[in-house]
Symmetry: D2
Subunit: 334 residues, 4 copies
Amino acid sequence: MRFFSDNAAAVCPEVMAALEAANRLDTAYDGDALSRSLSGRFSELFGREVVALWVATGTAANSLALAALCPPHGSIVCHRDAHVQNDECGAPEFYTHGAKLLTAEGEGAKLTPDAVEEVLAGVRADVHQVQPHALTITNATEYGLVYTPEETAALGALCRDRGLGFHVDGARFANAVARLGCDPSELTWRAGVDALSFGFVKNGGMSAEMLIFFRPELAAATLYRRKRAGHLLSKGRYLAAQVLAMLDGDVWLGNARAANDAAARLAEAAGTERLVLPVEANEVFVRVTAEEAETLRAQGFDFYDWGPGEARLVTSWDSDPAAVDALAAAIRAL
Amino acid sequence: MRFFSDNAAAVCPEVMAALEAANRLDTAYDGDALSRSLSGRFSELFGREVVALWVATGTAANSLALAALCPPHGSIVCHRDAHVQNDECGAPEFYTHGAKLLTAEGEGAKLTPDAVEEVLAGVRADVHQVQPHALTITNATEYGLVYTPEETAALGALCRDRGLGFHVDGARFANAVARLGCDPSELTWRAGVDALSFGFVKNGGMSAEMLIFFRPELAAATLYRRKRAGHLLSKGRYLAAQVLAMLDGDVWLGNARAANDAAARLAEAAGTERLVLPVEANEVFVRVTAEEAETLRAQGFDFYDWGPGEARLVTSWDSDPAAVDALAAAIRAL
Amino acid sequence: MRFFSDNAAAVCPEVMAALEAANRLDTAYDGDALSRSLSGRFSELFGREVVALWVATGTAANSLALAALCPPHGSIVCHRDAHVQNDECGAPEFYTHGAKLLTAEGEGAKLTPDAVEEVLAGVRADVHQVQPHALTITNATEYGLVYTPEETAALGALCRDRGLGFHVDGARFANAVARLGCDPSELTWRAGVDALSFGFVKNGGMSAEMLIFFRPELAAATLYRRKRAGHLLSKGRYLAAQVLAMLDGDVWLGNARAANDAAARLAEAAGTERLVLPVEANEVFVRVTAEEAETLRAQGFDFYDWGPGEARLVTSWDSDPAAVDALAAAIRAL
Amino acid sequence: MRFFSDNAAAVCPEVMAALEAANRLDTAYDGDALSRSLSGRFSELFGREVVALWVATGTAANSLALAALCPPHGSIVCHRDAHVQNDECGAPEFYTHGAKLLTAEGEGAKLTPDAVEEVLAGVRADVHQVQPHALTITNATEYGLVYTPEETAALGALCRDRGLGFHVDGARFANAVARLGCDPSELTWRAGVDALSFGFVKNGGMSAEMLIFFRPELAAATLYRRKRAGHLLSKGRYLAAQVLAMLDGDVWLGNARAANDAAARLAEAAGTERLVLPVEANEVFVRVTAEEAETLRAQGFDFYDWGPGEARLVTSWDSDPAAVDALAAAIRAL
């Protein structure tokens, strides 16, 4: 019973069907009808003209976004636990040609304007230091917390005041939207966000992630950077098809709700004593002794230890309800 | 009736079936059983221990290979018409951090040892010039010619003598093997090749290309570079599945033969007068006037003009036999 | 008797005196009074507001200029024999993070609008190819020819029409100005030039070259790039002092005239039969047999062979008149 | 009376004389006799075969060293207050093509093996994280502390055990050697150091810093990188001359001693109550109120505030003894 990562989830049936359907003659790269429809479809979703580009991974989406917002001699503020800082093998540095990540603190991998300002205050405005050009946050965060529209907008206001570009790593953006029940625009451009990595793979897709630019002019150079990075797939229609299938009928939201609901059930079972952090998306961090973790594993539950005395349980769109119930019961029984 | 690019071909049924079959729980990134089997499977195919890595595009495969063979302050010899030089938006320069491509001449985008030596002779051995570190050829070439084992080995010998790494861009490697009827090893490591971009997408795959290192030590740093470039997909099992499905039962060879055969029929129809170059793989370059091209298009044939008075016709694994026959007849009728 | 390179020339007395004079307490980096006066002084010289930055080498000046004019995913048109292409070990690629140099043809390393247009015509306007962003020429060229104001302006018009930045590598800019007797503005901003590498080292300086931006906004990012490249010397006042000493009393022009005059005397001695190219600056390319070259060397003249049957003779500000006369006589006597 | 930076110190008379003496005909770049003698001279100084290269700045020396020790996809451990981290505008990231600096803690900008191990422990050994390849320390540190031979060797042992390259930023290496009275080898290769940035500019030079490789094989690629970065000056003999003049008669040690002695006198005047850190080189950090700082400035002393309630006083080889006495008295009188 898998709770170790939503990366290991299956591909949802709508996506599989779309791949089959896309399997007809069409043009190459991103010249096909499906790919060409993406900017329009996402413009509708966000209620504003956007440019929407597929890439093969969230790492590529994040890095292309940051390269659009920060020159090689600049720096980017992020959380100390951000995926871009810790889990992408320096991809932001590769794509930006050596920009620096400046790390800020905050519980649950969540940043506040104060935390960002503290980092900015440490930078002298002279040529001996790389100057900040962008802020990137993750929503939902690496620890399963969400930024509300208000919290996002507060950071957006800071970015506007300080001349920073604003990027959201939305590997689990669907989970955040599902949780908050808000319009996607409220977590993005209405809150001052310039670019969004909109994740589909963890949420039921196979190999397509979206990079959304709310300032279309940022896309011009990115088209070249994407090609140059080897992310302009020659059969791009299969990526577009995956994403379109998840937009149709709000599959993306339904899948995210399913994952969130499963996590909520685990959270309820764990109780506030065991929970390391509130559960706001599809990740549950619980306090368990090594012995307790062993007990759970002996019952067939697969998950990551997360530092001493803690475990991470991740649900996904396809979490088996029976397995979730069984894990909830097993946690209660600890 | 599509003859403009094999990039636009459909995904073959074996691959589609494999994607469905892969849609079960499994681990993330390249830790799954399918991905972990790749090096073994390709080692069998090539008769030698190799390291085999999937990436999403041939551009990524080529660039990662070149980055493994050439430092930022080095240079890479390639043909003036090479894909790496003209059609990857500087991806080799991006991945190598600024190495220089030195271009050599040769008919049909094919290099000879003499042509390579001529380029090397133009480089002074001092720190004011970037020094050559690698040679890359394309087999089959961008103009549909193939390098025989002997021709490849002659270049391999040159590389060994001059201390150059040797890479083959095999976007259409299957077509070359199918044409020559040789063992894949004869076009690669037995001929001194260090790294091969082994193409599957044009030949019936969806989104998986392989990078094969015949010197396993070259793979160590490449694992990091692949991640850093955003080419370590989180659901890598779907890439592995595509490739494995095409290795099973030599689907890759069968598909390539089908494409080659279709091209041969067009070549026969065109006749030596019209043919710009011999047809050895799945590309046919023919001399046609603007009027003749228009005549063909009016009959529903879709293809690229290729300079004044020439057209490029590309066949693929799924070229409709009726369409091929129709085009052959139409060419004869010009 | 040295005729192999003006790089080997001595430092002129005005510069030496200025170094001594600068040896007093002052502030660090480029905050000193001398450094701060440079933009003003060069603005006077050019009759327009410019930003003037010192760096330690012409390679750094060229590369910083190109990085200001071309993004990593762009390309730069230059002559096939340009110093940036052949003699800087890929510095432009390093500083631009992998932009591509596209080489054009032209006698004597000199470009015409037609030659540039031919290169541009070979680039498709799609994301698969790096798009041209800049043109760089060398004045005086690597073969000692000069671009007149009209010739420069013709290239400048092309750049404006095609949206290209325009850089001049002026390692021997002083020699060109001295030859043409024109105002420096006519070879630069009045002709559409955006950035100039203004050479002082070959012309009597020690270790200071100037980078002049005629569009001041280009300097903003360059200030960071210069620091980042290790070219913001902590005792920058000694670089400023060298340059200011050569501006005072037009030492730069006087030195260049001396070098040009010496070359003219050699050219006269050689005669049109022997001259490979007209002599317009301080380089003389002559046809000599291996035997003749040996005869000259036996008399103590030091110079480079320049391909089979040719030799390069370079004069400098401090060419010994007696040595020049002797060489002239020796050439006549061949 | 200047105490704000040793970067603002004058050039010492031996260097000035050497520049005059070098002003004779010689060959270009680093082919001259002076430059060619450097590796031999430094091999004598260090008692081992080394490769010694001049560059124009310490930033360049540091960055070239780090690029020799760490690939683009690696990381480098340094102190949070290291010059490479804070004051070089991302030069290490530029030269290494995007390697990451991992910062460790320690009082007075000084690292211990434990502090380094703590950073290393935070890195997972998988491809999702950049792996550590090098350690860099500054001796004397940015806060004027020195690493003893034993302390350096302990870090060197750690590097050997963990497979890290070991670099010392020796912008004030002379001050450290002068303080410790040890052999330079004890602070470098005998302690496991692979590369040293040996500073001459702050200590009486004008524009030449040295990069010393204790593993000569590291120099091979660096020769190209130096050229590519624009640090192979065409009149390199003037850089070599500066350094050689400071090696002759141990001028470098004498100058450093003078600076250290001046600092010691200020430290004595300040007393342990006022001193933020022990004074072991030529930097004195003292606790002063804003009022006291004002009082000192009113008497003509120029220095930097260093955070609230602290001031940095830097002495140099040419600190005027009378000014030092005056400042010492003024501090006592506060």
